[in-house]
Structure formats: C-alpha cells, structure tokens
Symmetry: C2
Subunit: 102 residues, 2 copies
C-alpha cells in the first residue's frame, strides 16, 4: 500500500477504536482527546500476525480490525490494521511492546 | 516523515475535523460513519501550500490544521496536514480536486 492508503486505513482503525472506547462511557476517550490524543503507529510482519494480535487483544481491550473493501491496491477483505484503545498505555504495551514503529 | 508518523498526523486531522462536523449537530458526521466513513488522503507540495489551502477552505467548510509538537522527525510547530469534513464531496472537491493522492 502507498503512504496515503496506509494513512487512510490507520484513520479507519483509529476512529473505530475511539468509538468503541467512547461507547463504554467511562470518560477515557474524552480524556484522551483533551490530553492531546497520542497515537502510535506500529507494524507487524504479516496479515496472519495481525489477526493473531487482534485475537489476543480483543479479550481484554477495546479494539477494532479493519478489512479493506479492496477497490484499490489490495484484495477485497484483506485485514490492513487494528486500532487499540485509547486505553492505559501499560495495558496496551503488554501486547504491542515488542513491535517496531512503522 | 516516515509512514507511521504520516499516518498518525493524518489521524489527528481526521479526528479533529470529524469532531468539528459532529459539533455542528447536523447529522453529517453520524451519517458519514454509518456509510463507511470514506477517507481520501491527498498531498500538497509545501507547508506554504498547506497553509494557503487551509485559509481558503476554512471560510466555508469545517476543517482543522495539525501542527506537530516536534518531538520526533520535524521541527516544533510544523504544520503537517489538514483535515476537511466529512462534508459534501462536491464542496470539498472545489478545493482539493486538483491535488494528487498521497
């Protein structure tokens, strides 16, 4: 994927996951927005790794996986990224701490 | 900027602009979310071009400019991107129609 397509996919994940946290009604999403809404973009090595990470994370943290409609650049239904949180940094790091920055 | 930093900046713009539209209370943001929240990422040639575009767009459409804190990769206060809408595609295209995909 090109840079613009990557950015759009990450935006989908960011907004979907943000809404999940918002729907929990705990004030975490609002606090995150007020405090500068930190976002960190990490990479995995494969789509399989992405699915495995998602299966692990979703047991305990609000997150969302993005599958692309596949109109451009990649095949329909390909998982492109997951969004996690906003949530406690330490809790997210348990799953993502070993991943490198994209 | 690297791909991950670009993606994070675009996410900031996307969420900020989304909130601006949401605050107008016209149902446009909610409709956009329900209908698949299309996002298109375009490029300009310079920071100056970005500011000029922002000055034009903000007169008529909900939009937001993102300035980076400059902790990594770029200087503090550098404008990295703007988010426009969600809004009527035709209205946005009046300003962005000649820009190329990132």
């Amino acid at each position: 994927m090109g840079k613009g397509k990557i950015a759009a996919q990450v935006c989908h994940a960011s907004l979907e996951s943000y809404h999940k946290v918002l729907d929990r009604g705990m004030g975490i999403a609002e606090k995150w927005v007020q405090e500068g809404q930190a976002k960190i973009v990490l990479k995995v090595d494969s789509e399989r790794d992405l699915y495995e990470l998602y299966e692990q994370v979703k047991r305990t943290l609000p997150c969302e996986i993005i599958r692309d409609a596949g109109k451009t650049q990649i095949n329909p239904g390909t998982a492109t990224c997951i969004g996690i949180g906003p949530w406690e940094e330490e809790e997210i790091d348990k799953f993502t701490g070993k991943l490198k920055l994209l």
